[in-house]
Amino acid sequence: MEVEEWVMGHETAQNMLRRIGPRTTGLAPLVPALQRIVNLHGRHVVEVAGASGSAKSEFLLQAAVKCLLPKQGYDGWDGGVLWFDLDGHFDVLRLVRLLQAHIHQEARRRYEEGNEEEDEMEDGEQVLETCMERFFYTRCYSSLEFISALKSSRNHLLRAQTCGKGFRILVIDSIAAFYWLDRSAPFKGGAGNPSLSLQGAMQAVVRELKELRKLSQPTGLLVMASKCNIYSSNFSDTNDWASGLRKDNRQVDSAHEKDSRRSGLQQREFMPAVWQEFITHRLLLQSKVADGTETLFSAEWLRPALLNVDEFTINDTGFMLTNR
């Protein structure tokens, strides 16, 4: 009877909250700098923007590690990660080091609290193994390969779901990797026949992502994408396509206006509208060289627009907020 009711679709808000609430609320924050956004969950799409070397990939990796770690004891999400590497910068050894650092930290904390020690080490090895088995990686060298990979990831998604441990995060690093290739693709066909243009490719990507998200109900799938800066501050586009796009968006989206005004030309928006409408959160990362060899990074939420700018450094276990 219960199943039948559920299949029929209609339910009260209270029922729905009771059903999906435990799965979406009460999740630990993925990254300390993300703490300002209260509750990221499976229906959100986060874009991490920034120039090369502003710790975008590191940010995504930190989030992935938190997602992989078990809930019990490690305060993680206990879920799988799908990682689409379009930039070719993923380093599996770095992932292992980060996971080990988190596991060691936890083991040390427990030891200091006076719990037994010998069992913990074995436990740590096991945790690492489980986490490594839950991380799925693929590499793409063109937009078509990317769309193919998105299509074939459905099977993985469904398989993982039947095992009980579904994917919680889908990472794209970086979404703008094939921007120039797609823009230079010859435009053919009319409205009914989409060609491999930037617009067409992004439409297909967004459609596939929505499909994947639908398949991973009820937890949903948090999409996190990095977006590398394509334009330097003095690059002028020949047909000024991007600035025309920006103008359009400014009328639609007032949050967007703030994006472009605050960050200036350095962060001008260049992705098609279909992608921009898809994302729900945008974080801007920047790097500043501090004294000595220490690099200081800053993180600022552009959507939703928050006034605070967090500054952080990176060490072995993750991001360390600096209070200034």
Binding site: A51, L95, T138, Y141, S148, A149, W180, V289
Partner: protein, 325 residues
């Protein structure tokens, strides 16, 4: 991407193909990009089967998903290594040398020592690792004489009379494993790199034959900068970046490229080729030379897994790079 009828899927009968063609879907590419939402909840059983088969074909064609546990096993099985640069201070800076599977870029103005580093790395990898080295020369800066001097420095002994017996053979052997290619244009460059990728992918490893483990492009920016400006130029640049990355990641080469500098804001020199290219290499080293002390300084500008802004110094001598600590 092929036409729909070419993979030879049995479920794609002429009738089904005609159905797809009526919707404008002629190739696998069209199938991927088609925004027909009821493509999946199709009308007939035959059509459903066709969609499943095409998805299966796409799945087989894509490189597939691997778990990170398997990636780690693969790395351990392959024994992914760091290639020594032949200069201890640079090795220390890079924590072991050039890593296989990554693209390293040297940035520096004219006569900052880029080519010297490239040749030293080539000599070191050819002699110490006994591997093949591809040296793509785009601006006539390669010198076989200079390379033999550097190899002499590695083998030991400044002159022929001081060297031990057999040293000359070792130098000759190392010289033979450095392949030199002169390419001056973007299109021959792209076709060469693609060809190399194909050759290395089908190559069967044998015990006697040396394998290529290092590819040097000196200087990469001089074939790219003439075509930059506008969308097609940028697309060509990205294509070159992608094929270099493919060589590094799929063929497990260490790739070393060089880039020149241009005047940036306020007259300060900055690396050429702009923001898009900046995201391409995994490691970027800035070279600067102090002519009064004859010291070269290398600074880590970008590194995907290590801290940046660390320095190392070396001197360029007749027998190669001499580390200065």
């Amino acid at each position: 991407m092929p036409r729909l009828d070419s993979p030879g899927l049995f479920s794609l009968t002429p009738k089904i193909l005609a159905d797809f063609a009526a919707e404008g879907i002629l190739s696998v590419e069209d199938f991927l990009l088609a925004h027909n939402p009821n493509l999946d909840e199709s009308r007939t059983e035959a059509r459903k089967q066709a969609v499943v088969d095409i998805l299966g074909y796409i799945d087989r064609q894509s490189c597939g998903f691997r778990t990170s546990a398997r990636m780690l096993q693969e790395i351990e099985a392959r024994g992914e290594r760091y290639l020594p640069t032949g200069c201890e201070s640079l090795d220390k800076l890079l924590e072991g040398g050039l890593r296989e599977g990554t693209v390293t870029e040297l940035v520096g103005g004219s006569s900052s020592g880029k080519t010297q580093v490239c040749m030293q790395v080539a000599a070191s990898v050819a002699y110490r690792c006994r591997a093949m080295v591809g040296f793509v020369d785009t601006c006539h800066s390669f010198s076989a004489t200079r390379l033999s001097h550097m190899l002499g420095g590695l083998v030991g002994g400044r002159d022929a009379v001081q060297r031990r017996v057999g040293a000359a053979d070792e130098i000759g052997d190392a010289m033979k494993s450095i392949m030199h290619y002169s390419i001056f244009d973007i299109f021959p460059m792209l076709s060469f790199l693609n060809q190399l990728h194909t050759t290395l992918s089908v190559q069967v490893q044998s015990m006697e034959e040396k394998v290529m483990r290092l590819l040097i492009v000196d200087c990469a920016s001089s074939v790219i900068s003439p075509i930059l400006g506008g969308i097609p130029g940028h697309a060509l640049m990205v294509s070159m970046g992608i094929i270099l990355k493919k060589l590094a990641l799929e063929n497990h080469l260490a790739v070393l490229i060089t880039n020149h500098t241009v005047g940036g804001e306020g007259g300060h020199p900055k690396p050429a080729l702009g923001e898009t290219w900046k995201a391409m290499p995994s490691v970027r080293l800035l070279l600067a030379r102090d002519f009064s002390s004859n010291l070269c300084h290398a600074t880590v500008m970008k590194h995907t897994s290590m801290a940046c802004n660390r320095h190392a110094a070396f001197q360029i001598t007749r027998t190669g790079l001499r580390p200065v600590f």
